[in-house]
Symmetry: C2
Subunit: 217 residues, 2 copies
């Protein structure tokens, strides 16, 4: 197991058995999500912005957006907390108190820095595209110089991070298992539905393999 | 239209046409989501924690969790930014640059305070339960005094908030519409699957109507 070193802020105080520092567990969660929530501090106050992301090896790449504009305005490197959460189900316990959800989340603490060089920026944009839908980058028109300059891409190292996971059935108080109350889980899952072509599509363009055979990770 | 007053930090600088201050639009998004991301500042650094929530009128109720413990440790009232994001689809443009996602998000700025009185706490816990699955609160064992004391519930007023929404097909550069490249959207949707009963369930307990007929909002 490839364990990421624990720090004060990545160590769970509550329900520590739900925590994981296993890089493979963390990577699997990060590779499945589409949106992260980027937290940063501005005027001493918190801001949390949703944005697209990708994992590139042991770095998290965050897409240009309002978040990156605000982050960059603050200086070269800025503290962020990036959180990715996947929802797996509703957990219906016999008591109101033990109601819960099944989920997998990753919290990343670190300093975001802007990717500056052309080569690195292209690699990061490719990672963002391939994270969303594999096979698309080589199919579409690549960014021109003006677009590259307009795009801000941030990178955060994945070296202070942990996962938190809840799975399975409710855990009720011993005496509540005798109650005539239904308990269980309602699984939730994000599905990809049939692709909808742009009505402005050229008539002679067929749906490519990477779209036709797309399966949500 | 019931508009929420704009402030400096709820006004979108980028793509302002995607923003909305309509309370009905904001409420609909909040009522559909399951998990919010709560951002707060500790030791001058941002922390973003996922947690369950519910809307109770014009307040957002946040469930007790590590976040609320950390929030409460900081004092009576603390600045938070709470963000809810619903993912609606992948937007596949003809150029890499215009790749996007369809989403609906709400950002709430405000000060969280702990709900203290027994009556208010019970009302908030009911709202949290009914938000997750309507009809469950009156069916399960209600919280006892010890559980009520253990539970922290926070409230944030919904008076500094805005929604951001992207819908529909990609918007490509004019000259790119002639390219022989497929463009369109892959809709994504969170579905509830068949409930899975707890194996420790009493044999004589039938699945209740609120579970059998549950439909994800």
């Amino acid at each position: 197991m490839n364990e990421i070193p624990r720090t004060e802020r990545t160590t769970l105080k509550r329900l520590p058995k739900r925590g994981s520092f296993d890089r493979e567990v963390i990577n699997t969660i990060l590779d499945e999500g589409f949106v992260c929530h980027v937290g940063f501090v501005t005027d001493d106050k918190p801001v949390v912005i949703p944005t697209g992301y990708a994992r590139m090896g042991e770095n998290l790449i965050i897409h240009g957006s309002r978040a990156s504009r605000m982050l960059c305005a603050l200086g070269k490197e800025v503290d962020v907390c990036v959180t990715v959460t996947l929802i797996d189900g509703l957990v219906l316990a016999r008591s109101a108190f033990h109601r819960s959800m099944n989920y997998r989340s990753v919290v990343v603490f670190g300093r975001a820095h802007a990717i500056e060089t052309r080569t690195e920026k292209l690699a990061a944009l490719r990672a963002l595209s391939e994270h969303m839908i594999p096979g698309r980058w080589d199919y579409v028109r690549e960014p021109n110089e003006r677009e590259l300059q307009q795009t801000t891409v941030l990178s955060v190292p994945l070296n202070e991070t942990s996962a938190k996971i809840r799975t399975g059935q409710p855990v009720d108080d011993d005496e509540d298992y005798d109650l005539p109350i239904w308990a269980g889980i309602i699984p939730l899952r994000l599905f990809a539905q049939t692709p909808v072509a742009d009505p402005l599509l050229r008539m002679d363009v067929d749906i490519p393999g990477h779209v036709r055979s797309y399966v949500k990770p």
